[in-house]
């Protein structure tokens, strides 16, 4: 029971963290990113499409298709994020509106394209790409232990990928020149310009990284929650990720904590519903627990949080 909460909680928290880190990259460079929901959806769509194509050609080895689909999801998310970059950086449009529009556009576009592609090429008539079940691994040696056992039981391979990404992203953001430049853009873009660096280029890369990470997070959810890519992928993970990164004060390690809280709360309320054998109508109500938790926690713990100073501001070189 407790182990199940940990297993489900991690499977939810780690993809969420990857998406939230995507948001951190974009926002630390000064670009508000409310488009995470749409980006993860488009990433999942790209991954699903890639998987569907690959299994046509190599039907017996779905493991290759499985891993390649992650790369496709990252590329798809990064590509789709170019719209956000174009609107916010080049055309200096309002970043909130751009984000909202991308969310709506992604929903409509992926649903439409999935149905069309299924009909034209894959001789299906559904609005879903079906994926294989992701393999799960258990470290038998340790799985019997309390709590720790839950950490190493039924682990999805993408949880490992997510953890690796977290380490790489942390290093990139806090230990490299690019990370230093990126975070400076979010505080005082003039200083970056004065140092002879291009604010626009740094922000472009930051937004693309955020799109790529959101895409990876999206395909993870597609594998773990429904084993297909459908409009059901838009269940609010992108917005929950935004809440997590704000709650985590725009820093990776605290955001990890926030994602774990949300993931475990979600898994726990799920188990609670099963335990009490609730009616399915109450089930939906119980699943709002993590979101209510978000609200409560934000009220109490985000007072001293500080957003990047230049967040959401259009940077115009001529302005001093």
């Amino acid at each position: 029971m407790l182990n199940q909460v940990i297993i489900d909680g991690l499977a939810f928290a780690l993809p969420l963290l990857v998406i939230a880190i995507g948001g951190i990259f974009s926002e630390h460079s000064g670009v508000t990113n409310l488009a995470l929901e749409g980006l993860l959806g488009f990433g999942a769509f790209s991954g699903g499409l890639c998987f569907t194509i690959l299994v046509q050609f190599i039907p017996f080895d779905s493991a290759v298709a499985f891993y390649v689909s992650f790369i496709a999801a990252a590329l798809g998310g990064a590509t789709f994020s170019l719209i956000h970059a174009l609107l916010c950086i080049r055309l200096q449009a309002n970043q909130v509106i751009s984000g909202v529009v991308i969310n709506i556009a992604a929903m409509a576009l992926t649903g439409f394209l999935t149905a069309q592609l299924n009909q034209s090429f894959f001789s299906g008539s559904s609005n879903k790409f079906f994926l294989s079940t992701a393999p799960r691994y258990t470290l038998d040696l340790l799985s019997g232990l309390p709590i720790l056992g839950g950490l190493v039981t039924n682990v999805y391979p993408f949880e490992i990928i997510a953890l690796l990404l977290v380490v790489i992203c942390w290093f990139l953001l806090y230990r490299t020149r690019f990370g230093l430049h990126l975070r400076a853009c979010g505080d005082n873009p003039q200083s970056v310009d004065a140092a002879g660096l291009s604010v626009a280029r740094i922000r472009l890369v930051a937004v693309m990284i955020s799109g790529g990470l959101a895409g990876v997070g999206g395909i993870c959810f597609a594998y773990s929650i429904s084993t297909n890519v459908s409009p059901a992928i838009y269940f609010g993970a992108g917005f929950l990720a935004i809440a997590a990164l704000i709650f985590g004060n725009w820093q990776i390690i605290p955001t990890l904590g926030a994602c774990l809280i949300f993931g475990l709360a979600r898994a726990a309320s799920f188990q609670l519903v099963l335990l009490l054998e609730m009616d399915s109508s109450i089930f939906d109500l119980a699943m709002i627990v993590p979101y209510v938790l978000v609200l409560v926690l934000l009220v109490f713990f985000s007072k001293n949080n500080r957003a990047p100073k230049a967040l959401g501001q259009v940077y115009d070189k001529g302005q001093s």
Binding site: F171, R175, T176, R177, L180, H181, R183, A184, D187, N188, Q190, S191, V192, D193, A194, A195, G196, L197, R306, K309, S320
Partner: protein
């Protein structure tokens, strides 16, 4: 010694509607402190921006170390060993001193032989070494947001030194500093010259040029008047050349004729949000036709007093304006009873920076005729009113009434506030630091304006940190120290030195 490092030849630059630089040619020697002196808008900042590659000139060429160069970006300027400290610092507030200095030029180490990471240890050592060499009283690990303005400025200087800049440009470096900080900055500038740097200093403050500069180019309305040797040229001459007319430091001040009391304060006290008593039972009277000045070092309660009068902070005690007790009145009620307020914080309290000139000018009267008819604003009337005030108060704004206030110079923003306040024809006008940060021309015209108000029978309360201003403009002076009025005297009966002693609390 006299080797030319930088030569400007026939540089011209125009912006829509203004000629910022008109055919300017001059030479700067290696290792000298060369000053650009001029009023706000004389074109000196534009010229410096051209040297630093922020603007490209419309005509003319720049010769650096004997070679013609194109400086088309600040990055190029840095490559050519030119550095600039801007008036508005370009620092990342949540970064350390080290991180700010190395930004864009980080030392790199390779982890596991391949992965590039910033070598913070080496960076820190390099920065600390620079700090120690120039004796800057900073720590490489300090966070920028914890530093005061003067320390942040030193970080900007370090940024240039870290990049081995040889020509250092300072754009109005003393505008935000206290007198002590100015002294230490000027000392630093001298030290930099001793270290072999060439310094370009842009300022409108003559005293500073007299103190440090070797030579000085005086600019007026986009033209270079001439280059003077500072040691052998008198201050008066330079001041005259700067404003382009014979300047009288004397104000036209007729003897005072006091009328009836306009403002009476009775035991006014202010306690701030931290429960600290900022003003303790201040009582005084200001008459019609009188300039009553409140002198004091910053932070001794004078701002609280002004805010209390304007109704911006809670207070106890009585405020009587024209015989009417307004102690509990709302801000609008106070304005209607005849109180005009020119606040210290122009940007925060005085103006709506992103609104245009018209909107700012009617912002205290917009709700009543002729500016509003029922609920509707009368745009045409307001605009005509704005045009009138622009002329009457000599406010220079590029697009007339539609100019966005943020784009105007500080002096003109101040004139705008003064126009709005004086045109309400209030009986009491409160001026707080009315000439802070303004050039000589604007300063004198504002001081004259204060005296004109007094001559026309208004009561004026002047709150200023500048002794000279207080002594020349005021009829009566009260000194405020630690929230107490320590001395009230006619201006004619106190000397500058005595006033200083009261302000510092040496005398009670």
């Amino acid at each position: 010694m006299s080797e030319t490092i930088l030569e400007l030849k026939h540089i011209s630059k125009r912006f829509p509607g203004v000629i910022a630089n008109n055919d300017i040619s001059l030479e700067i020697q290696r290792g000298e402190i060369f000053a650009f002196l001029g009023e706000n808008g004389a074109g000196k900042s534009t010229l410096a921006s051209i040297i630093f590659g922020m603007y490209s000139p419309d005509a003319g060429e720049i010769i650096l170390r004997g070679q013609a160069v194109q400086i088309n970006s600040p990055a190029r300027a840095v490559e050519l060993d030119i550095g600039m400290v801007h008036q508005h610092f370009k620092l990342v507030s949540n970064y350390s001193v080290t991180e700010n200095i190395i930004l864009g030029r980080e030392p790199i180490k390779r982890l596991l032989g391949i992965i590039p990471a910033i070598d913070y240890k080496k960076a820190r050592a390099q920065v600390q070494e620079l700090i120690d060499r120039y004796d800057f009283d900073l720590s490489a690990d300090d966070l920028i947001e914890d530093l005061n303005v003067s320390s942040q400025q030193r970080v900007e200087i370090l940024k240039m030194l870290y990049r081995d800049a040889e020509i250092l440009i300072f754009d109005e470096p003393t505008a935000m500093l206290t007198p002590q900080e100015i002294d230490s900055l000027l000392a630093i500038i001298r030290r930099l010259r001793e270290a072999g740097k060439t310094i370009i200093l842009i300022t409108h403050k003559l005293e500073e040029i007299k103190l440090v500069a070797d030579r000085c180019a005086i600019m007026s309305r986009g033209h270079l008047i001439d280059v003077y040797d500072v040691q052998t040229t008198s201050t008066q001459l330079m001041a005259n050349r700067m404003v382009g007319r014979q300047l009288s430091f004397q104000l036209d001040k007729a003897p005072a004729h006091f009328g009836p009391a306009v403002l009476e304060l009775k035991e006014l006290s202010v306690i701030d949000a931290f429960k600290v008593k900022r003003l303790d039972k201040a009582s005084f009277t200001v008459h019609a036709g009188e300039v009553f000045a409140l002198a004091g070092v910053a932070g001794n309660g004078q701002i609280q007093l002004a805010d209390a009068l304007a109704g911006l902070v809670q207070h106890s005690g009585q405020i009587i304006l024209n015989g009417q007790d307004i102690s509990q009145a709302s801000v609008r009620k106070r304005i209607q009873s005849g109180l005009a307020y020119i606040p210290e914080d122009r940007h925060g309290v005085g103006l709506f920076l992103d609104f245009d000139v018209t909107e700012n000018l009617i912002s205290k009267q917009y709700y009543r005729p002729p500016f509003a008819h029922w609920a509707f604003l009368q745009k045409k009337t307001s605009q005509r009113y704005a045009e009138l005030l622009i002329v009457r108060y000599d406010v220079r704004c590029a697009q007339g009434p539609a100019t966005i206030v943020r784009s105007m110079s500080g002096g003109n923003q101040q004139k705008l506030i003064i126009a709005r306040e004086l045109d309400t024809h209030a009986d009491l006008v409160i001026f707080v630091q009315p000439t802070r940060g303004l050039d000589i021309g604007a300063t004198l015209s504002i001081r004259q304006r204060i005296i004109d108000e007094r001559n026309s029978g208004k009561a004026v309360l002047l709150i200023s940190l500048e002794l000279e201003e207080v002594l020349t403009v005021a009829d009566n002076i009260a000194v405020i120290f630690n929230g107490n009025l320590t001395k009230v005297t006619p201006a004619a009966e106190i000397s500058l030195a005595e006033l200083g002693e009261y302000m510092m609390g040496v005398r009670q």
